[in-house]
């Protein structure tokens, strides 16, 4: 049975697209046929992060309008045979997506894919609503700051009342993904800690992705950071995918790196 997973947050710039690329790629690398759908009409950048921007011909809106078919529109990833990208339209505005149109496309994708990962735009308006409406599971991406947590809380309220599952008395399975986490700053009280965020949102923690140089480097190269298996962020995303698939793995990168004796003797941060 195909599963629709929405990557959502309310707030912009928290790491939804980075996460969609990483989780989608991780699922594909583990053998699941996966498509990542960019719902951010007008602000398309999933294809940049996936490094396939030069191969975009048709987009989500063309597909909905019947200008193109699925085969013509889906972009196959170069790294994995299991992975496809459905790019957003760069030129159209967000009203070009309709609920019926989205449903039709998702139903068609369900026939061939195991996982449909929906990269939501920011906000709680139409685009974000359409991205989450048909979801079976939701990964709520949150940064360790009060405004981001508040927006995620609001999104959780919408998931539990305004989604198709909610309307038919079912629940969307919710996961919390805390990204851009900096344990040093959390210890200093400059950011919320993992337990602060868990306490406020009270949903299961899928993973904690550290603030990492590797993310910027990966996105500049058009390679999802999960492919950088030596990096902290890549490993943290890998763990998150395994947890999504039901494994129980301890959380990593939650603590500030202990200073060595030499570092302590010679000061500095």
């Amino acid at each position: 049975m195909a599963k629709i997973i929405v990557i959502t947050s309310g707030k912009g710039g928290v790491g939804k697209t980075t996460t969609s690329a990483a989780i989608g790629t991780g699922l594909a690398l583990r053998g699941f046929k996966t498509v990542i759908v960019d719902f951010d009409v007008g602000l398309r950048n999933l294809d940049l992060i996936m490094g396939c921007e030069r191969r975009v011909v048709y987009d989500f809106v063309n597909l909905i309008n019947g200008d193109s078919n699925l085969n013509q529109t889906l972009i196959k990833d170069k790294r994995s045979d299991n992975l496809y990208i459905l790019p957003a339209s760069q030129t159209r505005d967000k009203d070009a997506l309709t609920q019926d149109g989205v449903e039709k496309v998702l139903e068609e994708l369900k026939l061939t894919f195991d996982y449909i990962v929906c990269d939501s735009p920011a906000g709680i308006e139409k685009g974000a609503h359409l991205a989450m409406y048909f979801a079976d599971e939701a990964i709520v991406v949150t940064n360790p700051e009060v405004s981001s947590v508040r927006d995620s809380d609001r999104m959780l309220g919408l998931l539990s009342s305004k989604s198709r599952r909610a309307e038919s008395g079912e629940r969307i399975k919710e996961h919390l993904l805390l990204t851009r986490y900096n344990p040093v700053r959390a210890d200093l009280g400059e950011m919320l800690t993992v337990s602060d965020v868990e306490d406020i949102l009270s949903i299961p923690l899928l993973g904690v992705i550290p603030e990492s140089q590797a993310v910027l480097k990966a996105s500049n190269q058009g390679v999802p950071v999960i492919m950088d298996e030596l990096s902290d962020a890549g490993q943290a995303y890998g763990d998150a995918v395994d947890r999504l698939l039901g494994e129980t793995i301890p959380h990593r990168f939650l603590e500030a790196q202990k200073k060595s004796l030499l570092q302590r003797l010679f000061g500095g941060r």
Binding site: I124, R150, D151, D153, R154, L156, G157, L158, S160, S161, K162, A166, E167, D199, I200, S202
Partner: protein, 260 residues
Amino acid sequence: MTAESHSDKLDTDLAFNLKGGMLTMTVIELVRQEPERFARQLAEKVRQAPNFFKDTPVVFSLDKLSDELDATTLAHLLQICRDSGMQPMALRGSEAFRPLAQHCGLVLMLPGRVRDKSGEGERRGAAGPKKPEAVRRETPVAAAPAPVAAEGIPSKVITQPVRSGQQVYARGGDLVVLASVSPGSELLADGNIHVYGPLRGRALAGVRGNTEARIFCQSLEAELVSIAGQYKVAEDLRRHLWKEATQISLDGDSLKIVPL
């Protein structure tokens, strides 16, 4: 969370009406835990007034019980009640009984929530001379202003977190929230409000002017609390019993906040 409790959607076509009313409940105040004796004495009462017990909602009160009650004994006692046609709804007792209540699938009512009217039940002849397990009738405090008699208003019970941007209103009765109440959300009730997770949003009890309404919460971290229009905001609340289990009531013109 259901769609009707959400403020984002303006839904004017009513799918139901909430009616005000008073709900009378029988309280079984347990004095000793001897299932055999309990069953025997209860059977005797049922024999005296069979209709009185049929489908009667009952609250199991543990206030008078001095020794510890285990889940097996309680389950046994509840089964005896059910076999006699009663419907156990809630457990009344201190916070310590919460696990027990949950285990038996009952709502926990903290003491003080209901006012006893013990004399009355006896006058109705349902009970003879006082027996160890006295069966008495009493009326919940949550009497709504609407005078629709005997048409019980079930409390509105919310089991999922109330999230930022959501609003829940218990018209005509009490609101019970078993999960957390986030900042940016709002609880409204004509009667009392009970919150068993942290209360971090707004809570307005007695919104149609019931000055007897109260707010009970496990952890007071609210943005605002109000009873019948008298309110306090977080800035004031922070000074006293912040993050503590509290009971908030109206004392004249001001809010009284005391530990639970």
